[in-house]
Structures are given as C-alpha cells and as structure tokens.
C-alpha cells in the first residue's frame, strides 16, 4: 500500500526545545489516521512541517510523494487543510469566500459544494467575522472539501465546537468517502472525538511517537482481562510485561493484556495466579486502549 504521508527523522527545534524529535511516520493511503497526543505534544508543529508552513530542523517529510519543502500550488489542489486557528479573510461573506477559493482549484466540484452548503446550513450573505466559531469551521471545511482532495489534514478541528456542529463536521468529512482514494489525517488531544472514525492511530508525546498502529491490530492484541483469585492473593512484585496497569481490588484482578492470544493469555494468568477462576478477556474500544496506553506512557494532560 502507498503512504500518503511519510516522514523520516523529522525534527523541529524552537530555541533549545525539540518540539518534534526524530519523528518517523507513515500514513497509508485510504486511512483515517488519528494523530493523538496531549496539548503541547508537537502535533501542530508536525502538521505545519507537513504543510510546508514550517521548515524542519532536520529530517524529511514527503506528502503525496513530494518533499514537504517543495509543496506548492499544484500539490495543494490535492490537499485540504483545516486548522484550529484557521486564518480567513474575515471581511468576506461566505459566498465571496467561496468565489475566492474556487478559481484556485481546477478540480472544484460546484455540485458537491452546493450540497455541502445546504448540509452545513451556512448563511451565504453573512461576513465571516460575524460567524460563530462552529460556522467558521464549517466554512473552512467546506472550502477544503469542495475540490475533493486526495488528502485532508485536520488540525484539532473540534476544539470549541458543540456536539451538534462536531457531528455535522464529521458527517461532512465522510462525504469524501464517495471517492476511492481519500486519506484523512486528523490531530486531536481527545480520543472521544475520533474513536469511531479512525482506523489508524499514532500517539505523540513530548515530540516523540510512542505508538503507530492500525485500529484492527490494536483491537486484536488488546484485551481487558479479569479474574477472581483466592484468599490473601496479592499482586506479585513483577507481573508479565504484556500487562498494563494490573490492579487488585478485593479478590478481583484486572489488567490490560497488550499481546492477547486466547490460550497463551489464560496460561499466563494461571502462571501468576494458579488458583485464578472466572477468567475473562473482553475486547476493548479504541478509547479504552488509548486510555490504558496513555496511563502507561504517563502522558501528561
């Protein structure tokens, strides 16, 4: 499979701090990639390098096969980019803004634009500066979707949006799925916002990538395990390395198994607690997997 975004040893230093450090990332074509991490993890800095807004201190990033520092108008007709602090010509009306964007994209789809306008319920004759945050973000998304980009990059798009607008926004992003080859790279500090949307997850903290894996692989190897153990059982000083955050409460032992295999995992529990009974292993949602990992990495948020 092709990677739509690929970075190698990407680094950006501000003063003495490495905001992004030795980042090697691959975003497969066709994925909805959730780029997660607490505020200040380096997500926006990464995205600004990918979009050729910031120059890397070291390393390379390739976007749609082109070196990020060489990205120009031609490539940007295939890339949609919406950020939390989107700069827009505030004095234009929604309709003027659309007329202003359209000529930049030979692939602009007028019918699709009309459909999105209706779906987003945007007031054509209002000036951007008078719009609510939600409406402004929907306008920005519309102007990035209407030319059906191959790659949509969203930097913390949901910050400050209410539940309804967030829902409309996600629905709008999914409109692109009519196309075969579309990829979405979406950064967020909150897994809840992207849980059911993402099929790839990357976790960034302190400028470093802690994990990058497909949701399918994560959900195959993670299980929430639970069992009942006998009298006076205690958690031993060292527990299996694949267990995250093992806990005992009363006679109940709970942990997150990070390399689950039906029989082996049960045998592992029995090797630690020979009298374990009522062993269960339940599949986990992406959100719970993320939370278990975040606790383990001690992500500070």
């Amino acid at each position: 499979m092709n990677n739509v975004i690929e970075t190698q040893g990407l680094k950006r230093r501000f003063g003495k701090t490495d905001a992004v450090d030795n980042l090697t990332l691959a975003v497969p074509e066709g994925s909805i990639y959730a780029f997660l991490g607490p505020n200040g993890a380096g997500k926006t800095t990464t995205i600004k390098m990918l979009m050729n807004i910031l120059e890397p201190t070291a390393g390379v990033a390739k976007v749609l096969g082109v070196n990020s520092t060489a990205l120009g108008p031609r490539e940007f007709t295939q890339i949609g980019y919406v950020s939390e602090n989107q700069q827009m010509p505030e004095w234009m009306t929604v309709s003027q803004f659309i007329d202003y964007c359209r000529p930049m994209y030979p692939n602009w789809d007028t019918a699709f634009c009309g459909k999105l306008l209706k779906q987003f319920d945007l007031p054509l004759d209002r000036k951007l500066k008078s719009l609510s945050r939600g409406m402004k973000m929907k306008t920005a998304l519309l102007s990035s979707l209407a030319y059906r980009p191959r790659l949509l990059v969203l930097d913390e798009p949901f910050t400050g949006l209410d539940a309804l607008v967030r829902d409309e926004f996600i629905r709008g992003v999914l409109e692109l799925s009519e196309e075969g080859n579309w990829t979405v790279f979406i950064s967020s500090h909150d897994i809840d916002e992207v849980e059911r949307l993402a099929d790839w997850v990357g976790i960034l903290d302190g400028g470093r990538l802690h994990l990058a894996e497909s949701a399918v692989a994560l959900q195959a190897r993670f299980r929430s395990i639970e069992c009942v153990v006998g009298e006076a059982a205690r958690l031993p000083a060292s527990t299996p390395r694949s267990w995250l955050g093992p806990e005992m409460a009363g006679h109940c032992m709970r942990a997150v198994e990070s390399s689950y295999q039906p029989e082996a995992s049960e045998a592992l529990i029995r090797s630690v607690f020979p009298d374990a009974s009522q062993i269960s292993a339940s599949p986990m949602s992406l959100r719970d997997i993320f939370l278990a990992l975040a606790r383990t990495f001690r992500l500070n948020d």
Binding site: I170, R171, L174, E175, S177, E178, A198, Q278, P283, S285
Partner: protein, 125 residues
C-alpha cells in the same frame, strides 16, 4: 434514517455494536426479508463510523446469511434464515457467555438468569 436503532455505548468496539443492532432488528422484525439494507457509505455517514468498519459490518452480516447482495439492486435482508436452529443458536454464543459470566460474578443462580431471560423473551414475543 437507518432501519435499525443504534445507540453507541462507550467501552465496546463499534463494529460489534453495529452488527448486534442489525441482528436484533432482523430478529425482532424491525427489518423483514427483502427490505433494502443501507449502503456502506450511508451506514458510515449516518453512524459517523469509519467506512472500513461499515464495510466489515456488511461483510460479516452477508457472511452469516442475514443479508444478501443482489447485483444491480443492492443489499437486502436475506430470505433464507440460517438453515438450522442450532446454527442460529450459535449466533448467540458470545452473548450467552457474557451473561453467564456476569451472572456468576453477581452470584446469581441459573434460575435467576432463566427468569430474567423469560421476562425479556415475553416482552418481545
């Protein structure tokens, strides 16, 4: 609008939840054989789920014989139910196991579980 009711619970994978909601709607008569089933795209957009997840849901239901793909028409709720009662019973294995595990944790007797099941059974019949 989707022909089945879906309310996501946190803490459980979306895929299993959607498959379960569809099965429930078919078994309870909310969707009948020959009814049109939403496309992968509609499913993904209406439920705000990843298109690949939506695709997996439809593939699993087709595989289990609950949906059938009619070329040129679309995906329909299947006529032929899984051939034997035993096979249909297999569909419930996971759910039954979960109920039994929970019941044992709560130190309930088999009779308590049967009674609870009967109540729900009668409510839906």
């Amino acid at each position: 609008m989707l022909p089945f009711r879906m309310q996501f619970k946190t803490g459980m994978p979306a895929y299993g939840q959607v498959v379960y909601a569809v099965k429930k709607a078919i078994i309870s008569g909310g969707m009948k054989p020959g009814d049109r089933f939403p496309s992968v795209r509609t499913l993904s957009q209406e439920l705000r789920i990843n298109p690949n997840t939506a695709h997996k849901v439809v593939a699993a239901l087709v595989n289990e014989g609950l949906l059938e793909v009619k070329p040129g028409i679309g995906t329909l709720v299947a006529d032929a139910q899984p051939s034997t009662r035993l096979q249909r019973g297999d569909l419930l294995n996971g759910e039954v196991e979960r109920v039994v595990v929970e019941a044992k944790k709560l130190q309930l007797e088999l009779a308590d579980v049967v009674r609870a099941i009967e109540q729900h059974w009668n409510r839906l019949s």
